[in-house]
Structures are given as C-alpha cells and as structure tokens.
C-alpha cells in the first residue's frame, strides 16, 4: 500500500456551500498541505475524511481501508490535531492520558511521558491553564504515543507564535523521517508549507484547483510586474489574477504563457501569491 490517504470524488452539499468531486492521494512518507482561503472547504474535507460529516458521494481510503466500514481500525492508526484543544479543559495532562490511552492498544506510556518532557508541557497543570501552543503539542504527543501512521492537522498553526510554529514543523519533519508515516496539513499560513510540504492540494470555493507535488504547483505559475501601459489589452485575458496600482501592476500568469510576457519583469510565484491571485480573479 503506497498511498496512506486516497480521496476520490468526494462531495458534500450544505445550504449555501458545495464541496464538489474532491480527489487527491497522499503517499506514505510525505507531508501534504491542504490549502485554500477561509471557507473553501478544507475543514469540511477533513471532517469527511474522519467521518464526522456524512458524505453525499465519493470514497475515502486511509491506509487502504474504507473510512466508514473500517472506521475503528482506521482511527486506531490516525492522529488528529485541530486548531484548538479537544480534550476536557478541567483535566490535568496526566488525567487526559488516563482517559484517552485506554482507547489505543499500542499506547506507549513511556513515549508519552518522554514527549511531554521534550515539549516542556507541565503535566500537573490543567489543560485550560496551558497555552495554545502547549495544547497543540499535547494533541501531537497523544497522536505520537500510539504511533499513528497518518497525522491530520487542521489549521494547527493558526494561533501559534513563530517559535511554536517552527517547533511544530520540526516535529513533523522528524515524524515522517522513517518513511512510514504521513501528514495531511491544512493551513492558510502558506509559509509553513513552503518549508514542510512535499505535496499540495488546493481547494478553492469547494472545487479542487490542484493536487500534486509542491514544486510542480509552484512551477505552474509566475508573477509578472510592469508599469502603467506596459500590459497590452490582448494579454489581459491571460492574467489569472492581478493587482493594479497607480504606477503599474503585478499579476499571476501560467508558466506556459511566459513567452507572451517576455518584455515584463518575471518572478517565481510563492504558494501565497498563487492562493491570493487565484482568488482575486483579475481586478
């Protein structure tokens, strides 16, 4: 089994929002970034993967198993970190371990206490007394303590300071080092992905925009910059998204159209540029 996560034609309709035919796969040993602006369907996709929402159609396989018919086996090998704490706030770290560990056959107490020490989490403190960064690390420690094969993180870095974000990315890099684990990492802080992700899945307004390697994704686009009047009107249609100023403009184009813009300044696009400009739809 090469893919730890396979999502095929996943769809879900809510009043006012539709997630349509999302398909992507994550090979084991890699980190995939799930990106898109707020409300694009990232969390819906994750909840459908976790069977917390009922899908309208499509299929989800985790480690080769169906996420609904083999739910228990799948979830025994799955670690999840949400954007905020999901453990009882009144528990101490030790009480949280006692409550959660019974659900996992291969929970390793030594590993958990080692991780708690490594992450500098005060085990006597109540969870509500821990900082957001510490709460996030506690959820990571839980997932690592039963050797979850696949880690799913839903906007984990949202409220973290740069030091905590950096630490998390280091932890994830270590986690996939042995080639036997995988990470699906939803975020809108794309700088994290520039550093950590191998693959990108980009969802925009409920539709799949791209899924593939990060390098391929970044190489697909370029940023062009020019002064006022430097952009011929016939090229306007080739701009995926543009930002116009009184002195000039900058825009995102497809790399395949690059020769049409040879007279302008061209720069490589960042993931952030791609997400921002593809959602501007030309000004």
């Amino acid at each position: 089994m090469d893919n730890y996560l396979e999502v095929s034609n996943l769809s879900k309709t809510f009043p006012g929002f539709q997630l349509q035919n999302i398909s992507f796969s994550l090979p084991k040993g890699y980190i995939m970034g799930l990106i898109g602006p707020n409300g694009s369907g990232k969390t819906t996709t994750i909840k459908l993967i976790l069977n917390m929402l009922k899908r309208d159609s499509g299929e989800v396989k985790l480690m080769g198993l169906d996420n609904i018919s083999d739910e228990k086996t799948v979830k025994s090998n799955l670690g999840v970190v949400f954007d905020s704490n999901y453990l009882c706030e009144e528990w101490t770290v030790a009480q949280a371990e006692a409550a959660v560990s019974v659900f996992y056959k291969n929970w390793d107490k030594k590993k958990f206490s080692g991780l708690i020490k490594r992450f500098h989490i005060a085990s006597a403190k109540k969870i509500k007394e821990l900082s957001k960064g510490m709460q996030m690390k506690l959820m990571v420690a839980c997932a690592f303590s039963y050797d979850a094969k696949l880690l799913i993180l839903d906007e984990p870095t949202g409220g973290l300071d740069p030091v905590s974000r950096d630490e998390l990315l280091e932890i994830l890099a270590e986690y996939i080092e042995d080639g036997e684990h995988g990470v699906l990492f939803s975020t809108h802080i794309t700088a994290d992905l520039e550093r950590a992700a191998d693959y990108i899945t980009y969802i925009s307004y409920g539709e799949l925009f791209f899924s593939g390697s990060k390098d391929e994704f970044v190489d697909m686009f370029r940023i062009v910059k020019g002064g006022r009047g430097e952009l011929a009107s016939d090229l306007d249609g080739k701009l995926i998204g543009a930002r116009k100023f009184s002195t000039g403009f900058e825009a995102l184009i497809k790399s395949e159209d690059l020769k049409l813009f040879g007279h302008l300044d061209v720069e490589p696009a960042t993931i952030d540029d791609i997400v921002v400009f593809t959602n501007r739809e030309g000004d």
Partner: protein, 216 residues
C-alpha cells in the same frame, strides 16, 4: 477492556472534577428522609437528584468541544452511547445503594423503625423513578445538547411532582394491578426490572439513532 466500558470510563473522567458536588447532592435527601421520617421520600429524592446530574457529561463535553475527540476515537457511536447509559445507570446505582443503606440507619437513629416492606417499596419506586427520568433525559440531551436542552435537567423535578399528584389524586393504591404487585414482592421486583429494561432499550435505540444522524 470492552468499548462500552472504555466510553463509560471516559464519562467518569469527565465528571471527576464535579464529584464533590455530586456527593454533596446525595447528602441532601438524607435530610429529607429525616424530616419526613420516610424512607420512600428519601430514596425518591435521592434518585431525583442524581438524575438531575445526568446532564453533567453533556455539559462538560460541550464546554470543551469534545465532539471532535469523540469523532476521532476508535470507537463506534453506538458504543459511545452505550457507555454514557452505563455511566448514568452506574451513578444511579451508587446513589440508590447509598440511600437504601444510609437512610434506614439515619431513620433508625431518629427512632423510626424501617420495615423490610418499606425498603422493598422504596427500592422499587426509586429505581422506577430514576429510569423514568433518565430514559427521557438522555435522548433529549443527545438531540438538543446540554445548553439548548437544559429543560431536560428539570424532568426529575417535574416527574417527581407529577408522580406525587398521580398517587394522591388517582388513589393508585386501590388499583388492582398495583394491589396485586404490592401483595407479591417478587412479582413487583420482576415487573420493575422488565419495565426498566424495556424503557432503556427503547431510549438507547432513540439515542443511537439521534447520534448517528448528527454531524459534528
């Protein structure tokens, strides 16, 4: 460990910080029994009070957004529900054991002699009342949550008053079925057990259906 037991243990862990309050709640019915010099009153109040704490697990889990934890644990929704019923019934059983042992001792110390028939009647009424309250409360909490469904916390009080009214207004002791059961304690105990099992089976079925249709 069985999945239902694991879920019940998780619920117990949720209310651990509130255990002192619950224990204090159990002390109040002792006073009721002493003031009224009645074991039936004391046990009925104890079961009414403990049923009122049935929503604690829902409140605590709602406060900490624990639906997401339940969504990622390797356990079926049915077992989560069964675990909550097991926890609730265990709390009811503990309250029942406490009141059925402590109240007669207190009454005896105050000079009121408690007959075995009183104990039998108090036990049957207490268990029936607790069942009646919780079989409606738990599906209500599952459906509406602890905040929107806070009205379900008052079911035991309303139920207790309704039962008092029912007994006094309808002169229930003259009912032939009740009279027959009163004359045959074993039949009364079996009938109580049967009613409780059927009521819980129906209640669990409804709760499982609610939780399966819910999206987190």
């Amino acid at each position: 460990m069985n999945d239902t037991l694991k879920a019940a243990r998780l619920d117990l862990a949720l209310i651990r910080p509130y255990m002192r309050n619950i224990c204090f709640t159990m002390a109040i019915p002792v006073a009721f029994a002493a003031i009224n010099r009645s074991l039936v009153t004391g046990v009925s109040f104890a079961m009414c009070f403990i049923a009122m704490t049935a929503g604690y697990t829902f409140s605590v889990s709602e406060k900490s957004s624990m639906d997401r934890l339940y969504g990622i644990l390797p356990i079926s929704k049915k077992n989560l529900v069964l675990g909550r019923y097991l926890y609730t019934c265990s709390m009811g059983l503990l309250a029942f054991m406490f009141s059925i042992i402590v109240h007669p001792i207190v009454l005896r110390a105050l000079g009121t002699i408690v007959q075995p028939a009183d104990i039998c009647l108090a036990a049957i009424l207490g268990i029936l009342m607790f069942t009646l309250y919780t079989v409606f409360q738990l599906p209500g909490y599952y459906k509406f949550g602890s905040i929107n469904g806070r009205i379900f916390m008052y079911i035991p009080i309303v139920g207790f008053l309704a039962i008092l009214l029912f007994v006094s207004e309808l002169n229930i002791t003259n009912n032939p079925v009740i009279a027959a059961l009163a004359g045959n304690p074993i039949a009364a105990i079996i009938a109580t057990m049967l009613v409780c099992v059927i009521a819980y089976l129906l209640s669990i079925t409804v709760s499982v259906k609610i939780i399966r249709s819910k999206e987190v």
